[in-house]
């Protein structure tokens, strides 16, 4: 970056001033108050903003008011131009704070102007250099340079290292602040810090927790103890109950002893009696009851038996006919059928009358059919459909034969008539043919050829010959005129050809010559040749006329003599016709054509007529001949047909005969009259049908009669069987017998009813007798079982046993009664124990045992109480623990304290890490950046001091700058003289600026930094500055003339501007 122009419109005292910077190094020289420092501040303000009102010393407000600000024009390293216009805002708006009118315009090499922001400016033009960095390293006044000196020596290092990196002191202040904050939070053995309080609380809580942690084990301990005590309590409980139960037994024993003695006695007596008496319960009473019952039944039985005897006697009095009674129902049935059978008999008589009438009718009918016929023939005839069909077929066969025969006879008649007419036709045509033939022969006898083809061939030849003859005649007439016309034409042609030949020959010579002259040898030659050829052709043309005359001569020879033709003609004619007239005509033709031409023509005409007539006749002849042939053929055909018809008739006759034979056979087979025609038979079928109807009626009647007969017979047979009459008895007599029998049967029925009444009375009596006897048996059994049960042989023994058993029961009752009063509510074991005691101990011993047990029981009770108390205590302890633990929040509190501690620790950690990082970053700076900077600074320092000092050294860890003197060795920078120290720091600044790793090379502005330098060192400083100006723009401000002079002499390229 290079500052090119400053336009100060109002800044401090300067108003409307413009400064141009043209050289790499510029010296602004002027007296005090000329505004040098103002210009420095102006540059700062233009680049980083006009300081706010809070910094009036740096703000440089124009004292008289007016516009405050100006324009700075700079050129960046890439060649672009930056124009920064900055004014403070007007007074009214200034109160609002940061208000300035700012316009930054970047114009690049191509001339494109872009508005930029302050950030862009700092980043691009100033390479990220901060305002303070710029102030402390680049735009330096003596104040800033000397500021270093006022710092503590131990802080100097950091200040120096970080000069321009955000304000050196910051780091020291930050570190101090961090350590203060950290100390507030925690110190290893601190007591007042927050952490210490928390830790203390935690310690206390942990003690509490260790207590509460023991709850569980205490609880478990208590629990196990409780279990044990419970166990012991239950043991004591058992002991106690055992004792008390024993005591109860003893008391009881004492109490029941008198009863027990009584019981013992009864038991002994009971022991004397049989142990088990199997006497039935209430045996005596049951015995007596049975006896009473027995007596009652016996009485009743006797009574009933008497009544029964009486009834039986009455029964015996009634006599009955057993057979009749058996037949009774049968009889009744027969009597019921009686009337019916009578009716049947009447019917039977009617049927036989009817049958006789029908039989007569049938006989008549049979007579009608055939005298020899009986019923069997009629039945055989039957008239079945097949039979009828057969007869019908025969009838049809006969009818068909008649019809066909009739047809054939008619046909034969017709055919023979046709034959006759055909024969007549034949005869007629034959006659016609003959006649025509004869007339033809007569008329055309002179014609030589016999057949038509022969004649036609001769005739054709003749005609063609006649044609040729006529042609020859015509040719000969036209030939003479033609010869004369040809001669004139050929003469003219010859003249023309000759004239052309001459012309062409001349051209033949002249044109090649001209061509020769025109240097075209080949053309001349070829032209010559062509013309020669033309000439030859012309010459030939002239000679051709002579050839024409030659062909004429040939023509003349071609026209031959017509006489030959005529000869041939006439010979042909003669071969055709043998007529003398025509032959003479032919002969005259032979003599010469000239005069017989007319005759020839007429004869030819005659001949044509003749031939045509002949041909017509021939055709007619042919036609009648074919007619004859056709008639003959027809006759033959008809003859054939007639004979075929006759044959067919014969065949029909044969068929008829066979049919007739069959029919006769059929008739005989059915025993019919031989001559009977089928039609008659068909009629017979009608009769047969009637006959059959009659037979059927007869059969029906017979059948009915038979049934009736059977019925009557069966009835009679039954009657006979029942009535036991002889076989001959029949009809009415049987019926009357039956009536009698029936009356007897009614009587018997009356008797039976009476008997039945007596039986019905007798029945209950018998039943009761039976019932009573059964009861009797039962009672006997019961008595026996009673005896068996009592194991008594008889009733006496039974009664004795009864008495004994009564006594036993009495004893048992008393024993039971005593037992109940002694032992009721006591279990069997305890009873046993009680009995043992009573058996083994007398009254005194019992008393003693009772007392002892009472004492023991008392002891056990006491022990139980003790244990209960212990249990109670343990339970209380356990509950206490449960209660305690339910309100125990110590662990949670500890956790809270831990959380607090964690917070503190985190805060501390952040601070500590921050401090640590600052320390580490510093050490990085010291290690990495220092050597390079110091090396550079050392060379500059050496140059500035004219070699008095070799180098600048930084002592690691001490943050001290040491200058190494050529002779005196290391000297602490704080001990250096003011000028030397300033030189040292200047060297350091040059070095730092040089080692800045920023892309932009920022100009340096020095405000009279060399005032404390001696002449030599000032010169050295100027030399160094001049050299550095090669790399960056340097602007120096001074009020010292000598300095200006020195600059002028030492740095010739420097531009000096006086203000």
């Amino acid at each position: 970056m290079k500052i090119e122009r400053l336009q100060i419109h109002g800044f401090g005292r300067i108003k409307e001033q413009e400064i141009q910077f043209n050289a790499p190094i510029t010296v602004l020289a002027g007296p005090n108050e000329a505004g040098k420092s103002t210009i420095l501040q102006f540059v700062r303000a233009m680049l980083y903003g006009i300081p706010s009102r809070a910094y009036p010393s740096e703000r440089y407000e124009p004292p008289g008011g007016g516009r405050h600000g100006g324009v700075l024009t700079a050129r960046a390293a890439d060649g672009s131009k930056w124009t920064i216009t900055r004014y403070t805002a007007s007074e009214q708006r200034a109160g609002a704070g940061r208000s300035e009118q700012l316009s930054i315009v970047k114009t690049d090499m191509q001339g494109t102007a872009v508005h930029m922001t302050q950030n862009d400016l700092e980043r691009e033009l100033l390479g990220g250099l901060s305002r303070d960095m710029f102030k402390q390293l680049f735009a330096v006044t003596l104040t800033e340079l000397q500021e270093i000196r006022t710092l503590q020596s131990e802080e100097m290092g950091s200040y120096l290292f970080h000069a321009g990196f955000g304000g050196g002191g910051e780091i020291m202040r930050a570190e101090r602040k961090l350590i203060q904050d950290m100390d507030k939070l925690y110190k290893p053995r601190g007591r007042v810090q927050e952490s210490a309080k928390v830790l203390h609380a935690m310690e206390q809580l942990q003690r509490e927790i260790s207590e509460s942690r023991s709850y569980l084990s205490k609880f478990m301990d208590a629990e196990s103890k409780l279990q044990e005590i419970k166990h012991r309590i239950s043991e004591t409980d058992q002991n106690r109950t055992a004792l008390s139960s024993q005591l109860v037994v003893l008391h009881k024993a004492l109490q029941i002893r008198p009863q027990w003695l009584e019981w013992k006695e009864a038991s002994a007596e009971r022991g004397g009696l049989p142990d088990r008496i199997s006497f039935p319960g209430e045996g005596i009473q049951r015995w007596e009851r049975l006896r009473d019952e027995q007596d009652r039944i016996l009485l009743r039985l006797q009574e009933l038996e008497r009544a029964s005897d009486e009834w039986n006697k009455q029964l015996d009095l009634i006599q009955i006919d057993e057979q009749l009674i058996r037949q009774g129902p049968h009889l009744e049935r027969l009597a019921n059928r009686h009337e019916y059978v009578e009716m049947r008999m009447k019917e039977l008589q009617e049927f036989s009358g009817e049958k006789a009438a029908v039989g007569q009718q049938l006989q008549q009918l049979l007579q009608q059919i055939h005298s020899g016929w009986t019923r069997s023939e009629l039945r055989a005839f039957s008239g079945a459909v097949s039979e009828r069909e057969a007869v019908r077929r025969y009838a049809a066969g006969f009818a068909g034969y008649d019809r066909r025969m009739e047809g054939l006879a008619f046909e034969r008649e017709q055919k023979s008539r046709q034959l006759e007419s055909a024969e007549y036709e034949l005869r007629r045509t034959e006659a016609a043919f003959k006649e025509r033939k004869d007339t033809g022969i007569r008329r055309f006898g002179m014609i030589i050829p016999q057949t038509k083809s022969e004649l036609l061939s001769v005739w054709n030849e003749l005609q063609s010959e006649a044609e040729r003859w006529r042609e020859t005649r015509l040719d000969r007439l036209s030939l003479k005129g033609l010869e004369e016309r040809d001669a004139v034409v050929s003469g003219r042609m010859k003249d023309l050809y000759r004239k052309l030949l001459w012309g062409s020959a001349a051209v033949t010579v002249i044109l090649p010559a001209i061509l020769w002259l025109l240097q075209s040898t080949w053309g001349a030659l070829s032209a010559f040749l062509i013309f020669i050829f033309v000439d030859v052709m012309l010459w030939r043309g002239s000679s051709a006329s002579s050839v024409n005359s030659r062909s004429r001569r040939q023509k003349e020879r071609f026209i031959h003599d017509p006489a030959d033709e005529e000869d041939r003609l006439s010979s042909l004619m003669s071969s055709l016709i043998s007529d003398p007239l025509t032959a003479s005509a032919a002969a005259s033709g032979q003599r010469g054509y000239s005069f017989s031409e007319q005759d020839m023509e007429s004869s030819l005409r005659e001949l044509r007529k003749l031939v045509e007539a002949w041909l017509l006749w021939q055709d007619e002849l042919e036609r009648s001949k074919s007619e004859v042939a056709g008639a003959r053929q027809r006759v033959e055909t008809l003859q054939h047909e007639v004979s075929a018809v006759t044959r067919k008739m014969d065949g029909e006759q044969g068929i008829f005969e066979q049919l007739d034979t069959e029919w006769q056979f059929w008739l005989t087979e059915r025993r019919l009259e031989a001559g009977t025609s089928p039609e008659t038979v068909m009629d017979m079928f009608g009769f047969a049908e009637q006959g059959m109807e009659l037979i059927r009626r007869l059969d029906g009647l017979e059948h009915k009669q038979q049934i009736l007969d059977q019925e009557i017979e069966a009835f009679e047979k039954e009657c006979r069987m029942i009535l036991a009459v002889d076989q001959e008895m029949r009809g009415i007599r049987i019926l009357s017998q039956l009536e009698n029998r029936k009356a007897a049967w009614a009587e018997q029925q009356q008797l039976l009813r009476e008997k039945e009444a007596i039986h019905s009375k007798l029945e209950p009596v018998k039943e009761e007798i039976f019932k009573l006897s059964r009861e009797m048996n039962q009672i006997a059994k019961a008595v026996q079982s009673l005896l068996d049960e009592g194991q008594a042989a008889d009733s006496e023994a039974f009664l004795r046993l009864g008495a004994v058993s009564e006594r036993v029961q009495e004893l048992n009752r008393s024993i039971r009664h005593l037992e109940v009063s002694m032992f009721s509510g006591w279990s069997a074991e305890r009873v046993q124990a009680l009995l043992d005691i009573l058996n083994h101990q007398d009254a005194a011993a019992l008393d003693k045992a009772c007392r002892e047990t009472e004492e023991e029981s008392e002891k056990a009770k006491k022990q139980w109480n003790d244990l209960q108390l212990q249990q109670g205590r343990l339970l209380q302890e356990r509950d206490q623990l449960v209660r305690l633990c339910s309100h125990d929040t110590a662990l949670q509190q500890l956790e809270e304290q831990k959380a607090s501690l964690k917070e503190i620790a985190a805060e501390y950690a952040v601070l500590s890490i921050c401090a640590e990082m600052i320390t580490r970053t510093r050490s990085i700076y010291e290690k990495e950046k220092q050597p390079q900077v110091l090396k550079l600074a050392s060379t500059y320092f050496q140059e500035l001091t004219g070699g008095s000092y070799n180098r600048i050294i930084m002592k690691m860890g001490e943050k001290k700058l040491l200058a190494e003197h050529r002779d005196e060795g290391l000297i602490d920078s704080s001990l250096l003289s003011r000028g030397t120290a300033e030189q040292l720091y200047l060297a350091m600044r040059f070095a730092l600026a040089g080692s800045m790793k920023s892309k932009a090379v920022v100009p340096m502005l020095f405000d009279d930094l060399f005032v404390n330098f001696d002449e030599d060192r000032m010169c050295a400083a100027l030399n160094l500055t001049g050299r550095l100006a090669a790399d960056r723009q340097i602007i120096m401000l001074t009020c010292h003339r000598y300095l200006v002079d020195h600059i002028q002499s030492r740095i010739p390229q420097a531009e000096i501007i006086r203000i």
Partner: protein, 437 residues
């Protein structure tokens, strides 16, 4: 197979403490302490109302190291209540409550089966008709540290067609965020042939696989900022055809939230406070009946950061909010809908172009570059931390505390330290703030 219903829960951690929370009043503290038990009561109520056939608990019922009597008593009380309803309970012991830890000896309960240190298989029955419903396999931790892959011991009963449930307390696929006990992979579990892996140990609810189901139900009550969100158990309905239908039921009494508040563009304290209070109101609306605990993480960059760090407004606001919460909690039923702010985690930075600073050739730039390097490079970071935290290490409690600190937290400290350095060092010289009044 028969259809049945069971509850899968794990990591009850009864009577364990809430971590990272301070400044509580006694009332709130008691409420916190009671919360795990309240959740347990809810679990029992759920089991009863859902009429489940049995319940499986996959370890870590309580923290043995606290040897809390209360935890044991309340747990056995819960078992009694389940027993009264005939609900079977199948329990394994995990790393926090191994078999060798002090435990209350109680009489054998018919309905409770506690698995021993060796693999066992028992049959669970359906309540309504006592038909065999499922085979439950399980194994307990004999000691706190089980480093063997115990899942391999689970073998399915080949002849048994019943639904097989496995109870295991393990870290599947080695989740690095948890201690790796009983390490195994989910392929191991799938290979075993069990139908449902009822797992415990990881407190985050997750279904790792379906058919077979591999399920972490999570714990029933979140106890630190690491356990945010809804907590509860699964009610698993197994149909006759073995189809598994899982429903999650929340049981938690106190819910944890993690809220981010960007400070970008926030002008002053009031805006910040309003924002925080709005968020708290939102949380209150989200779970009205419960107490909520929230951590606010302040992110972004803005002018507020300076006030947060220097003026400590976050700390003051926290104290104020705590005061208010304690006052509200002392009211009757004040705990429902109470929102307790756990802390403000300041991760914001000052309004400075950090990226530009990083590139700048300055002391601060160098420092930030160093910080960046330290955050990436573990050895550098460890070194920085060691020397920075060295004074704290002198104290035993703090040493223990710091040893527990995880990487993320350390990185957070480092970041905050950097921001602090920026704040301290760029205060006057840095950025563009110089042309301000």
């Amino acid at each position: 197979m028969v259809s049945f219903k069971f509850i899968h829960t794990a990591d009850l951690h009864l009577d364990s403490q809430f971590k990272g929370i301070s400044g509580l009043s006694d009332g709130i503290r008691s409420f916190l302490r009671e919360s795990t038990f309240t959740s347990l009561d809810r679990l029992v109520e759920l089991a009863v109302s859902e009429e489940v056939d049995f319940m499986v608990i996959s370890g870590d019922v309580y923290d043995a190291q606290d040897s809390s009597l209360q935890a044991q008593l309340r747990f056995y009380e819960a078992l009694e209540r389940l027993g009264k309803h005939g609900i079977g309970v199948y329990v394994i012991h995990g790393n926090h409550d191994p078999l060798d830890s002090p435990r209350m000896k109680t009489g054998k309960r018919e309905h409770v089966h506690v698995f021993g240190p060796e693999f066992e298989r028992v049959t669970a029955y359906r309540r309504q008709d006592q038909r065999a419903a499922a085979v439950i396999g399980g194994i307990s931790y004999p000691t706190a540290k089980v480093i063997e892959n115990t899942s391999l011991r689970f073998k399915r009963d080949k002849d048994n067609s019943l639904f097989h449930i496995a109870l295991l307390h393990a870290n599947i696929d080695g989740d690095p965020a948890h201690e790796t006990y009983s390490p195994c992979t989910h392929q191991d579990l799938i290979a075993s042939g069990y139908d449902y892996w009822a797992l415990g140990h990881i407190h985050k609810r997750q279904i790792l696989h379906e058919l077979p189901h591999i399920v972490y139900p999570g714990n029933i009550q979140g106890r630190s900022i690491r356990e945010t969100g809804v907590k509860g158990c699964y009610v698993v309905q197994v149909a006759e055809d073995g189809d598994v239908n899982m429903r999650f039921h929340d049981l938690d009494t106190i819910r944890w939230f993690h809220e981010t508040v960007p400070i970008d563009g926030m002008e002053g304290e009031e805006a910040f406070q309003t924002q925080v209070e709005e968020r708290m109101q939102e949380i209150r609306r989200e779970c009205p009946g419960k107490m909520s605990i929230v951590r606010f993480v302040l992110t972004g960059r803005g002018s507020l950061h300076e006030k947060l760090e220097e003026g400590r407004i976050a700390v003051e606001l926290l104290h104020e909010l705590h005061r208010r919460a304690i006052r509200a909690a002392s009211e009757p039923s004040g705990l429902a809908g109470l929102v307790w702010v756990e802390s403000f985690d300041v991760r914001s930075g000052p309004w400075i172009d950090r990226e530009a600073l990083l590139k700048e050739d300055s002391f601060l730039g160098e420092l930030l570059r160093y910080g960046q390097q330290a955050r990436g490079d573990m050895t550098t970071r460890a070194e920085v931390l060691r020397s920075a935290l060295n004074p704290l290490m002198a104290n035993r409690e703090l040493r223990m505390l710091l040893n527990e600190t995880d990487d993320e937290e350390c990185a957070g400290w480092l970041h905050r330290a950097e921001e602090m350095a920026v704040l301290l060092l760029a205060g006057e010289g840095g950025g563009e703030s110089t042309d301000e009044d």
